[in-house]
Symmetry: C2
Subunit: 405 residues, 2 copies
DNA sequence: CATGTTTTTTCGAGCAGTGAAATTAATGCT
DNA sequence: AGCATTAATTTCACTGCTCGAAAAAACATG
C-alpha cells in the first residue's frame, strides 16, 4: 500500500518547503514577512531559518545601509538564498538550436552556450555525446560554480514515456529513443530530468505574469510546431512528466493535411509555420512538409497578410480555425480561464483572432461559462527558460533541501 | 497566502484519514492489517482506533465464532465502521428518472425511492421542492436512520459553475440555474453536494473494478447523452467539482449536426440515441432532436444493425466515428491507459468498435504510446451509484471524522 | 500446565509547531 | 543623554503526534 503516512519528518519537509517556496516566489525577505507569507508562527520561522542558515542554504543579507530609514522599531534583516551552494545545467533543445545555461542556486545565469542544430546533428553525434560535450565546456569555463552541479534538466519537444525519462517520439530528428538522459546522469553523477517544452511554457507563463500564477491557463506555442501546456489553479496539469500533451497533433480534420509527424489532419499541419506557408502557396495538403522554415519567410508572410494579401490572409484564417477548434475541443475536457498564445505565431495573432474566437463560440462550455481570455505574448524563449529554471530549482528545494536532517 | 502549514493537527487528520480510507476500500480488518495497509506503526494504529472507537465511528466486530480456528496465536479482532452514526441521501437525477437512496455510514442501502422525470417535471415543481418532498418521504419511512443525516449528494448532468454548487446548464429540462442545492442545504441543515454524473462514472468504475483503481481511465457514457469522466492514476481529474468535462459536447465536425444543446457538430449529435436514430432514418442533421428516445426504439435499432440493416449499421458507424475522434482528440491532452464505454450505447459497442479504433489510430499519441484498451461495460447505473456513495462517504470520513478532536 | 505464536497495548523518547513573554535594536521625544 | 515607543526576533514551556521496544493478552498445542 501507499506510504502516505504523515509524521514529524513530513511536517518538517512541508514547512521547510513552504519557506523555500516563499523565498523563490517573492525573493529575499524578513522573517516576519516569511511568517506572514507561509502562515507559520514566528517561533517556527526562527527555528527553520536557523537550521537553513546552519546548512548554508540561505543567509542573512547585509542591510542596505541605513538609507531606508522609514522604520520605527528594530529593522528587519532579510534572508535569501545562498547562491553558491549549488548549480544546475539547463538544456533547451529545439529543432534548430540548442542552448545550455548554467545557473546558480539563486537562479542567476552564470554562463551560456548556444549551438545550432540541424536534422543531421543527432544522426552524426549521439545526443548524449553532444550534450555532454557542451556541459563539459561550460564546466571548464566555470569550474567554481560547476563544482556544485546538482541537476541537469533538459527541455525537449515530443512524447515522453510514462516514467518521464525517455523520449519516445520527437520532431527533433534522431533524438527519440536515445537514452541520453540516463547516459548523462551516469556520466555526471547527477539527476537528469526531461521536460516537455509545452509544460515548461505553462510553468514559465505562471512565473512571468503574477496574475496568472494561480489561474487556470492554457499556453499555446505556435511556430515551427504547435504545442500546449496547462496549469490548473496554479498546478501544472499532468503530474510527474508522464502523459502526453500533444496539442499540436490533435486531429483537426479527419484525413486532412499531412503533418510532419506523418499523421493527417493535425492542428500543426494547418497552424505551424510550414502549414501556413503551404496553404498560402497553394501547395497540395498532401505534400511532404518542409523540414524547416526560415523565420524571415514566415515573417514575410505575416507582413503580406497584414498588407492585405488574399492568399496569405486566407492561410492565417485556416491556421486560426485549426487552433480555435483545437481549443474548443480541449475545453470540453478542461476549461481554462486564460489562453496564452506564444511563439512566432503570436505575431500573427491579429490575423487568427477572429477565427479562433468563432471556433470557441461553437463550444458549449464557452457559451455557458463565457469564453476564456485569449491573449498573445510575444516572447516565448523566456517562458521556457524561466519554466525550466524555476522547475529545476524548486525540485532541488523540495527534494534535496527540505528533506535535510 | 495559502495556509498549507503542516502541524500535529494535520498529521492526525492525514493518518486518521488513511485508516478510514483503508477501511472503506478493504472493509473491516484487524489492527495489524490496518498497520500493514496504512504503513503506520502498531502503536499509532492502537491510538487511532482507540480514539475512533471512543467516538463511536468504528467498533470492534464480534468474532465470528471460534469456527475459524486456523490460527495459532491471539486471534485478531476486526474493526469496522459503525453503520449507525450517520447516513447520507443520494439523489441520481436523470433526464427521465430520479432516484433517491438512503444509505448508512457503513454504505448499506437503507431505502430507495424512484420517480419518473419528464420535461415538465421541474417546470411544474421547483427542483428543490421535488427533491425535498422525496427526501422527507424517505425520512418518514426511516426515522431512525434519517436522524443521523450528514450529507445530501446529487448526481446531475450538465455544467456546474466553478464553485461546484450551482448548475449552469443541463440537458435535464428546467433544472439549470435553480439554486436547489442551497435551498436543500438550508431546509435540511446539511451540506449538499452536486456532482457531475460523468465524474461519478469515473469514480464508480474505479471502485467496481480493482484493476482500474489506480489506472488512468476515461469512462464514456453513451446513451441519451454522451459524457465522460476521467481518473489519472487513481485520482479523479478536475479537483473539486469545478471544471467542465463536457465530452459529449466537444465539437466533432464544424457546423455539423444539430445537438440538443443548441450547438452544431457535437459528438452527442452523432453518437447519442437521438443522433443515431436521426442518422438511421435519414432525418436531416439540422432537424430538432427528439426530446427523449424510448429505450425499445434504441434497442430495436441495435438489433436491426446486428441483423445487417445497412442504414442502422451506417448510423452506428457514424456514431463510433464521432466517439473515436473525440477520444483521439482528448488523447492529445490526456492519455488514459483504459477507456470504458458504459450506458445503453455499450450494447452497441460491437457496431462502433471498428470506427473507434480507426479514429484512435489517427492520433499520434496512440501510434507512439500504443492505443488504450477500449472495453464496454454493460451496466452504468451501478457505477454512478457506487461513485456517489463512495465519494460521499469518503467526504464524511475525511472532513467530518478525520478532523474530530 | 508450560510453551510457542500472533495480536494489541503500554511506555518513554523524540520532534516539530505554538502562544506568550522576553530580548534586541532602532526611532522619536523631551 | 535618557527614556518611552515600536517592531523584529528569539526563548521557553507545553502540546500532540509518531515510533520502536518491551510487555501484556489471548489463544493453540503438546
Amino acid at each position: 500500500m501507499a506510504r502516505n503516512v504523515s509524521d514529524s519528518d513530513s511536517v518538517r519537509r512541508q514547512n521547510r518547503g513552504l519557506v523555500l517556496g516563499a523565498l523563490r516566489i517573492q525573493g529575499a525577505m524578513s522573517r516576519t514577512a516569511l511568517a506572514a507569507s507561509t502562515g507559520l508562527s514566528h517561533a517556527s520561522i526562527t527555528a527553520i531559518t536557523h537550521d537553513l542558515i546552519d546548512q548554508q542554504v540561505i543567509a542573512e543579507l547585509e542591510p542596505a545601509e541605513k538609507s531606508d530609514s522609514r522604520g520605527r522599531g528594530r529593522p528587519a534583516t532579510l534572508v535569501g538564498f545562498n547562491r553558491h551552494i549549488g548549480a544546475a545545467a539547463l538544456f533547451e533543445v529545439d529543432v534548430n538550436r540548442a542552448r545550455l545555461s548554467l545557473v546558480d542556486y539563486g537562479g542567476v545565469l552564470v554562463d551560456r552556450i548556444e549551438s545550432p542544430v540541424t536534422p543531421t546533428t543527432f544522426a552524426n553525434a549521439p545526443p548524449a555525446v553532444f550534450l555532454a560535450e557542451r556541459l563539459r565546456q561550460l564546466q571548464a569555463r566555470n569550474p567554481v560554480e560547476a563544482a556544485g552541479l546538482r541537476r541537469v534538466a533538459i527541455s525537449v519537444q515530443g512524447i515522453l514515456d510514462r516514467d518521464g525519462d525517455g523520449l519516445k517520439w520527437s520532431p527533433i530528428a534522431h533524438l527519440a529513443n536515445r537514452p541520453f538522459a540516463h547516459e548523462l546522469a551516469s556520466a555526471f553523477a547527477v539527476p537528469v530530468a526531461l521536460h516537455k517544452r509545452g509544460r515548461l511554457l505553462a510553468e514559465g507563463a505562471r512565473w512571468l505574469d503574477p496574475a496568472l500564477h494561480d489561474a487556470s491557463v492554457a499556453t499555446v506555442f505556435v511556430g515551427s510546431t504547435v504545442a500546449m501546456g496547462m496549469t490548473f489553479r496554479g498546478q501544472i496539469m499532468g503530474r510527474g512528466d508522464e502523459g502526453a500533451t500533444e496539442f499540436g497533433h490533435m486531429n483537426h480534420l479527419p484525413n486532412g493535411a499531412l503533418c510532419r509527424c506523418g499523421m493527417r489532419g493535425c492542428i500543426e499541419a494547418y497552424a505551424s509555420d510550414y502549414g501556413v506557408l503551404r496553404t498560402a502557396y497553394s501547395v497540395p495538403e498532401t505534400a511532404t512538409p518542409a523540414p524547416a522554415v526560415p523565420s524571415h519567410e514566415y515573417d514575410g508572410l505575416i507582413a503580406r497578410a497584414e498588407a492585405g494579401d488574399r492568399a496569405a490572409t486566407h492561410a492565417f484564417n485556416i491556421a486560426g480555425r485549426a487552433v480555435g477548434f483545437g481549443l474548443s475541443r480541449m475545453m470540453a475536457v478542461f476549461d481554462p480561464s486564460h489562453v496564452l498564445i506564444v511563439g512566432p505565431g503570436a505575431r500573427a495573432f491579429g490575423l487568427m483572432q477572429a477565427e479562433i474566437n468563432a471556433a470557441l463560440a461553437s463550444a458549449l462550455v464557452c457559451r455557458v461559462n463565457g469564453p476564456p481570455q485569449v491573449v498573445a505574448h510575444r516572447d516565448e524563449k523566456e517562458p521556457v527558460f524561466k519554466g525550466l529554471l524555476m522547475k529545476t530549482l524548486n525540485e532541488i528545494d523540495q527534494s534535496d533541501i527540505a528533506a535535510l536532517a
